[in-house]
């Protein structure tokens, strides 16, 4: 007699299945797409139109795009993370994860799948925003591999922010609260950076904040990868920040997740 093969968790396959689910849900939810793709584009176009001449009266609009594009790429990625976190919180609240936990499925697959889907969407955002940026005058002048680095670096940072979002979702478990907590944080992070105006044009008390702000660190690294100059140090700093977010928030999120979905005794 043949014995029925016991289904066993397959971490990679399960995560991809979860990623497929998350992507499908994402496609069917137009806001997420509008937020992740149009939002940074609208900001890029409108902020450039209104602030380019104020920030640098001598330069053209294309010069402003050349320095500000990294910030808008990052904002596009960053502001999608509350949406992902809200979806994760909704799943937790509705018992989806607890149900998965009771199945022969790798227990971290829902988290991993979500982050894979998130990264795929972020990649699309990066490509679209950079393409429009190039149309408006953004130039890569530091070679092919540096340009590749410019495209990949924000995805790593996005993964870190994704973990941060999940961590908040584990704690809050209420979609409105999750969004309400993350949005102001990301807004402050992206504005109090060197993305919109040069560091020297920020008020004195903000300058040290802007220096260590991960958004600025990423922006400086991306600028170096696009335009050349001293590249190693800024890129290492950016990698370090991304690693800190991924490992730090990742460990805490996974720990919170495991205890949160433990089958009820």
């Amino acid at each position: 007699m043949n014995q029925v093969a016991l289904p066993r968790p397959a971490p990679v396959g399960d995560s991809l299945a979860m990623a497929g689910r998350a992507l499908k849900l994402m496609m069917r939810d137009p806001i997420t797409f509008v937020l992740s793709t149009f939002f940074p584009l609208i900001l890029l176009l409108l902020m450039t139109a209104s602030f380019a001449k104020i920030v640098n009266p001598a330069g053209g609009y294309d010069d402003y795009v050349d320095v500000s594009l990294p910030l808008f790429v990052l904002m596009g990625i960053a502001f999608a993370s509350p949406v992902t976190a809200a979806a994760a919180a909704a799943d937790l609240r509705d018992g989806f994860d607890a149900r998965i936990r009771a199945m022969p499925v790798s227990s971290l697959a829902p988290l991993a799948g979500r982050l894979v889907a998130d990264t795929a969407r972020s990649a699309l955002t990066v490509v679209v925003v950079v393409a429009v940026g190039v149309g408006l005058g953004f130039r890569f002048t530091a070679g092919f591999w540096a340009a590749v680095g410019f495209l990949v670096l924000p995805l790593l940072f996005g993964l870190g922010l994704g973990f941060l979002g999940l961590l908040v979702a584990m704690r809050a478990r209420d979609t409105e609260t999750v969004v309400a907590m993350l949005n102001p944080l990301l807004l402050v992070g992206s504005f109090l950076s060197t993305g919109l105006v040069p560091k020297t044009d920020l008020p004195g008390w903000v300058q040290p904040i802007a220096r260590v702000n991960p958004f600025s660190v990423l922006i400086e690294a991306m600028r170096a990868l696009a335009h050349g100059g001293a590249t190693t140090r800024p890129v290492l700093e950016a990698l370090a920040w991304s690693a800190v977010l991924i490992v730090g928030c990742g460990v805490l999120a996974v720990r919170g997740y495991r205890s949160g979905t433990r089958p009820v005794a």
């Binding site: 137009p30 104020i54 102001p184």
Partner: protein
């Protein structure tokens, strides 16, 4: 037909009592429904954040990041920025109104109110009143923080009194349009998307955050003429020391009247549709 209810057997207020008083009292209905919305809002942390915290965060961030470069262009940014943030607050108020209107249509609340002795326009007016109260609270917070950062009414107390009046007029027009939008669309995600698609271009392609002269020359006419810029002009005329008042107020007034009409017509049509 001489049908009548058997009033004699009833406990509580007899049904006959209701029939003698069928005329809805608009003022009471609006007040009661506004109270309902305010109470519900005060229990939603997200609504408090979008009404008070977000406008404040925006104001502080724009002020912090851009005040130096603005000063280089000869602009005292806090005086310039405050009207912009007030306008932004009104937009957030409108977004909230659109969502709440759509929620009431979706949940069956509107349907139920229409089958009761409640004035037909009271649900929309009640929501409008509640949102205006909320925006006045936001204005108070913004003015207090603005004052701490150096904002002043340079035109004296009379012009200063005009400031909240213009803001409320803008609020009434914009919120009415948003209520019409919420009632017409009745799908929450579509409402969110639609309101954002209105907000970003109108807000950022205006002279609210930066003077029109900073925009590319081909955009400038559009930026100068559009209603958000015109309302910003009116608000700034009321805070400046010796600006001409009549012209900006008239132009803004004309725009707001048009917007209000649009909103009233839209809301009237949308509210009459069967749910």
């Amino acid at each position: 037909m001489t049908a009548a209810a058997p009033a004699a057997t009833l406990a509580g207020p007899p049904p006959g009592a209701a029939v003698t008083d069928p005329r809805p009292a608009l003022a009471t209905d609006v007040a009661v429904l506004a109270g309902r919305h305010l109470r519900l809002m005060s229990r939603r942390p997200a609504s408090i954040i979008s009404a008070i915290v977000l406008p404040l965060v925006f104001a502080l961030l724009f002020f912090t990041v851009f005040s130096r470069v603005m000063r280089r262009s000869g602009i005292d940014y806090i005086d310039y920025l405050l009207p912009a943030v007030v306008i932004q607050t009104v937009f957030f108020t409108g977004m909230s109104a659109a969502i709440l209107a759509a929620e009431d249509a979706l949940s069956g609340t509107l349907r139920r109110l229409r089958a009761m002795s409640v004035s037909r326009s009271a649900p929309a007016l009640g929501l409008l009143a509640a949102e205006l109260v909320r925006s006045v609270v936001s204005l108070g917070v913004l003015l207090a923080v603005g004052a701490a950062l150096g904002f002043r009414f340079h035109g004296g107390p009379w012009k200063a009194l005009g400031f909240p009046v213009v803001m409320l007029a803008f609020g009434a027009a914009l919120v009415t349009c948003h209520i019409a939008l919420g009632l017409a669309i009745r799908r929450l995600e579509a409402v969110t998307t639609a309101t954002n698609l209105i907000y970003f271009p109108f807000m950022l392609l205006s002279s609210a955050f930066t003077p029109a002269s900073a925009f590319p020359s081909w955009l400038r006419p559009l930026v100068e003429q559009q209603p958000v810029s015109r309302v910003a002009d009116a608000l700034r005329a009321l805070t400046a020391q010796d600006a001409a008042l009549a012209r900006p107020l008239l132009i803004a007034g004309a725009w707001l009247l048009g917007l209000l009409l649009l909103g009233v017509v839209g809301a009237t049509r949308a509210i009459g549709r069967p749910s």
